[in-house]
Amino acid sequence: MLRDMWLITVKDIRIELASRVVAAQILPFGLLVLILFGMAISPDLAVVGPERRSVLEEIAPGLFWITVLLSSLMALGRSFAVESADGNLDAILMAGMDPAGVFLGKAGAVLAQMIAVEIVLGFGAFVVFGAPIDDPGLLAATVALATCSIALAGTLYASVGAGLRSRDTLVPLLALPVLAPVLLAATMATRDALFTDATVAGWPWAMLLAVFALLYLGVGMIAFGPLMEET
């Protein structure tokens, strides 16, 4: 299973390196969304809190994670789009590859791509929103766990739409309600990680992310095979 996972992850990453869709399309999309948020929520609105942060800076964690979520939807769609040509997924599964391994492989590739996107987006958010970083350890843990959660749960729900024309509209509808707790937890934890005066305790929320990721690790490995059966 692990060998199959590795093969799929490497394959998907090779496809990305050759086609550069994530780097050339999804990443710019994410940066654009950050800018749009800045336009929609003027940086000159009232300042809040004892630290005198602008409204935009105050809500920067939430905006960052919404941007990540929207970008991941595209990455997840792409993950299955590369398989629809010539019924690749059927061929892969019929060749005897372990469905759980294929699931982990696809999720792993999405994870790697999204971490890369988030590093750039994070830098962009830092520049555009001007948010400081109080606890880098918590921030790193939050980003890692939240992205794992998104990649695992997202891959499972994206597979429901695999090979279908309505994939692009169906997958967001299925995945976003499920990922709402991830958005919530990641935002809370990030607020604690960035702001020194945050009243929220971030590590419990990071633990919730870990639980969510583990849950979908298990569920995904079990459910992916039955979902992909084409009989």
């Binding site: 309505s166 169906l170 309600p177 499920v178 929220v200």
Partner: protein, 276 residues
């Protein structure tokens, strides 16, 4: 019940229970989804709804703190119960379908989900209407309100999957997995939102547990009325699912028959009267 003697050799294949036979023959010729069973339940539902209106709107007294707005609880709470009941049926049906491929449970799961979505929408609406005079706002970030709204969208997604263009078995399987996961996801969403709002010491809306005798009676009538209505709707919706699956098969059968006839060298749509 003893089997009556066959009148002729053609009657050899008699069903075991004559009751079912009567039911089947009564509805076989009918071009609608009604039956004696559904009509009975439908009438019972109407009676119960009438009783509910009488008790809920008139006989029961206004509540102490909420006055007449509390009367909305007589439809709001039963809506919630019916909604959860339907989604639970979807959960059970999905599990059974995945285990043994039972078409009955697959169709029932799909039918129940649609009815659940309808009652989910009604729950949100009646809750908002109740919230305005009671708390002053149509919407709050109360855990239950938020998670019920997310649940609404989740099951709309489930219904979308049931309409995907896929071979029926593949479609049913994806829907079944989703039917199970959606129920579990609701629990996850509910607890994370509860934790989130708990931090803010927000209002957790409780329902006054001291219920006057008449109010309790009205509420019970409400549950019964909505359950009967839900059952009636489910019967019809299930039959619609069945008919849709049959239409697919009838089309397939016809196509196969036409192909076989062609292969035999005879096309039924050719030449009237058999002249070449």
């Amino acid at each position: 019940m003893s089997e009556s003697e066959p009148r002729s050799s053609n009657d050899a294949a008699k069903p075991k229970s004559t009751e079912i036979a009567t039911e089947q023959t009564a509805s076989i010729g009918s071009a609608h989804t009604g039956s004696r069973a559904s009509r009975t339940i439908g009438i019972a539902a109407l009676v119960a709804v009438g009783l509910l209106a009488a008790f809920g709107l008139w006989i029961s007294p206004p509540e102490v703190s909420q006055a007449d707005a509390a009367r909305l609880m007589y439809v709001h709470l039963p809506s919630i119960a019916t909604m959860y009941l339907m989604f639970f049926i979807t959960l059970v049906g999905s599990i059974i379908y995945l285990r043994n491929g039972s078409r009955f449970w697959d169709l029932l799961a799909g039918a129940a989900a649609e009815i659940g979505v309808v009652f989910n929408g009604l729950t949100l609406f009646s809750g908002a209407i109740w919230g305005k005079p009671t708390w002053g706002a149509y919407w709050t970030w109360d855990p239950r309100v938020t998670s019920t709204t997310v649940m609404f969208v989740m099951y709309i997604g489930y219904l979308a999957v049931r309409r995907l263009e896929l071979p029926p078995e593949a479609r049913s399987r994806r829907a079944a997995v989703l039917g199970i996961l959606s129920f579990l996801n609701v629990i996850v969403v509910h607890y994370s939102v509860k934790w989130w709002r708990g931090l803010h010491q927000g209002q957790t809306i409780g329902i006054d547990t001291k219920l006057d005798g008449l109010m309790l009676t009205s509420l019970m009538i409400g549950f019964v009325a909505f359950a009967l209505t839900g059952a009636w709707l489910l019967m019809h919706r299930f039959r619609i699912e069945w008919l849709q699956s049959q239409i697919g098969e009838v089309g397939l059968d016809q196509a196969l028959a036409e192909r076989r006839a062609e292969a035999a060298g005879y096309n039924p749509s050719d030449s009237v009267g058999g002249l070449a």
